[in-house]
Symmetry: C2
Subunit: 370 residues, 2 copies
């Protein structure tokens, strides 16, 4: 690690503030883990895809700090973000006699981060944990801000906690091994920060999209850092999503309906969010908030990032009705009224309800059989 190339973004939660480290080669460098809470045991939670690539390097780096470093490997994918697999983490901790000082390390993407974070929040009512995100999506979004959860058969992320990590370590080198679809899925969340908070970032992404798709380290470093800065400023002022934090869900209301309707794991989360942003932008347009050019621009960029821009048909008889039913289950809904995050075209987002008829128009215009 060249320390000159390591950026630090601080997330401010008072006594629970923590740094995000961003740079190349951080994962295997013991210095990345200096000054973490002391413990007898560190438990790395990873999955069958990521563990063979990076677990050994992380174990070696942690051995400098912890007398015992355990590794638990879960199956890969959103379909396994459930209680039985969370239980594997508790079983492992208890079978190894892990005490309440034990530090958990989430080595993987959003699923591993969500599960490890919720396990850390709940084990003995809370132990420290570190996020080591290995996907672009996790680096720019899910590892930052303390949202943890598992899925319920009736809804995504329905059971969880707001629980902050003590550190987030974004190693840009690991993004080289990312499948192309997952790189694009991560770009969906990067693109999101433009229309909701920073139109200059949107300009930058448009002009550097080829570099990002080629995984140029400097380009990735810029968007990871800028995304984390925006997310840090938003969540720092609203840890428990009682207000402004909801804008980070731009594209997610439609996106969650796609994920739930298709079955978790059929679409990558970022793909569903990309497509969901197209739909949320069309809704913004129909609400008179943005012009057609803004819609076309975002739709074009999302497509150029190799993300789907046409939604799936979830019900052949009443597709829009099915979307509406699923969206009413969204956590942001209140008393059956769906709350949509919409944009104003100038880098600001707002939360609005919308008439069902208008939402049906958006869905009908945005979906077809894939």
């Amino acid at each position: 690690m060249n320390t000159d190339e390591c950026h630090r973004v601080r997330i401010d939660f008072g006594s629970r503030s923590y740094p995000i480290l961003i740079g190349a080669g951080l994962l295997g460098d013991p210095r990345s883990y200096a000054d973490l809470p002391l413990a007898q045991t560190a438990l790395i939670v990873s999955n069958v895809t990521i563990a063979p690539l990076y677990a050994q390097a992380l174990q070696r780096a942690l051995a400098a700090h912890y007398p015992r470093v355990l590794l638990l490997t879960l199956p890969d994918g959103e379909a396994h973000k459930d209680w039985p697999h969370l239980q594997f983490i508790f079983d492992c901790l208890l079978e190894h006699g892990c005490d309440r000082r034990t530090v958990l390390f989430a080595l993987g993407g959003g699923v591993v981060g969500d599960m490890t974070g919720f396990a850390a929040a709940s084990y003995m009512r809370g132990v420290p944990f570190v996020q080591v995100p290995t996907t672009l999506l996790a680096q720019v979004d899910s590892s930052v801000g303390g949202k943890t959860a598992i899925n319920h058969r009736l809804g995504k992320n329905m059971i969880g906690a707001f629980y902050q990590p003590v550190r987030v370590i974004c190693d840009l080198d690991v993004l080289r091994s990312l499948p192309e679809a997952e790189l694009s899925a991560g770009l969906a969340e990067v693109i999101k920060y433009g229309p909701i908070a920073d139109m200059a970032l949107l300009d930058w992404i448009e002009s550097h999209l080829p570099d990002l798709l080629d995984r140029r380290p400097n380009a990735l470093a810029h968007v990871v850092r800028r995304s984390c800065e925006i997310k840090a400023s938003v969540v720092g002022s609203d840890e428990r999503e009682t207000g402004v934090r909801a804008i980070l869900n731009f594209g997610h209301t439609f996106g969650h309906a796609i994920e739930a309707g298709m079955g978790y794991g059929a679409w990558l989360h970022g793909q569903a969010v990309g497509c969901g942003m197209v739909m949320a932008t069309l809704l913004s347009h129909k609400l008179g908030l943005v012009d057609a050019a803004c819609y076309e621009r975002l739709r074009g960029l999302i497509g150029a990032a190799r993300l789907p821009v046409v939604g799936p048909v979830l019900d052949a008889d009443d597709n829009a009705g099915r979307y509406l039913d699923l969206m009413r289950m969204d956590k942001k809904s209140e008393a059956g009224e769906i709350k949509f995050v919409v944009i104003d075209g100038a880098g600001r987002a707002l939360v609005r309800s919308a008439p069902d008829a208008l939402v049906r128009e958006v869905i009908n215009a945005s979906c077809r059989e894939h």
Copy 2:
């Protein structure tokens, strides 16, 4: 409700502070629930023993505040404080389309309170909940302070959260229906507050024990109020049990070993704590902290409160070894070292480790086949 007879004890957690209301007739009085968070739906979680007695009165009182009041009835007992039964709460919430404003009401003893609290902590990452404790133990201990959890097959309360209720409502009338063994179990936690914090309370309990066992309202009101005051002052300064809060676990390290070794539910929690306090006091004596008279005094009072003062034999070959193994699994243990809460005889508790040989002496002197 005669409002003159309603005492309020405030628990100070900054923006998450809340009142404990203590009085007769509070449960069925709509005024007890005034100014709670607004919601479309309230969900009462209770058990098969308590629901037939009090659920209807609570439903009627809540109907003044919530358009929809649901009731979920769980089986009774510590043996059911597990994931499958927690899942029933999530199923109920999601099947009824409950949003993140939904308010949960825990109507029952410690098990119902722990499960409802953890469900509230985790549902959509946190919804408000109210404790309506119906046992003396829950009124003086488990409903106050925000500890919530479920059991794991390898340990009690291993999975949970620190999550504060928005109100605690202690109706003294409901204690009339309490089985005798549960009244005594509650008295164990009441007695506990004496040696760890307030010897005057211990004197008062000794001189009023017949009134307490006869469930005289004035006597119960005094101990519930004083217990809540002591607990409030301790947990208010240490929400997450990083320090002083641990003294509330006096008797619990031995007690948890009894509960785990006998199988959860075989002994009431308060019975195990009562017996555990006898053992912890003997350990305090062997450590030179209290004299023999103090030990005899506490042992006598615990027995007079109809609580067991002799521990069970958990392993015929190596009973002390079995206790030690179980106590090493306690959440307060660190790196395999058991932390005991001991007393000084003057109303103060401290956390200490002790040589295994000395702990073995205590166990050998305190246990026999029941």
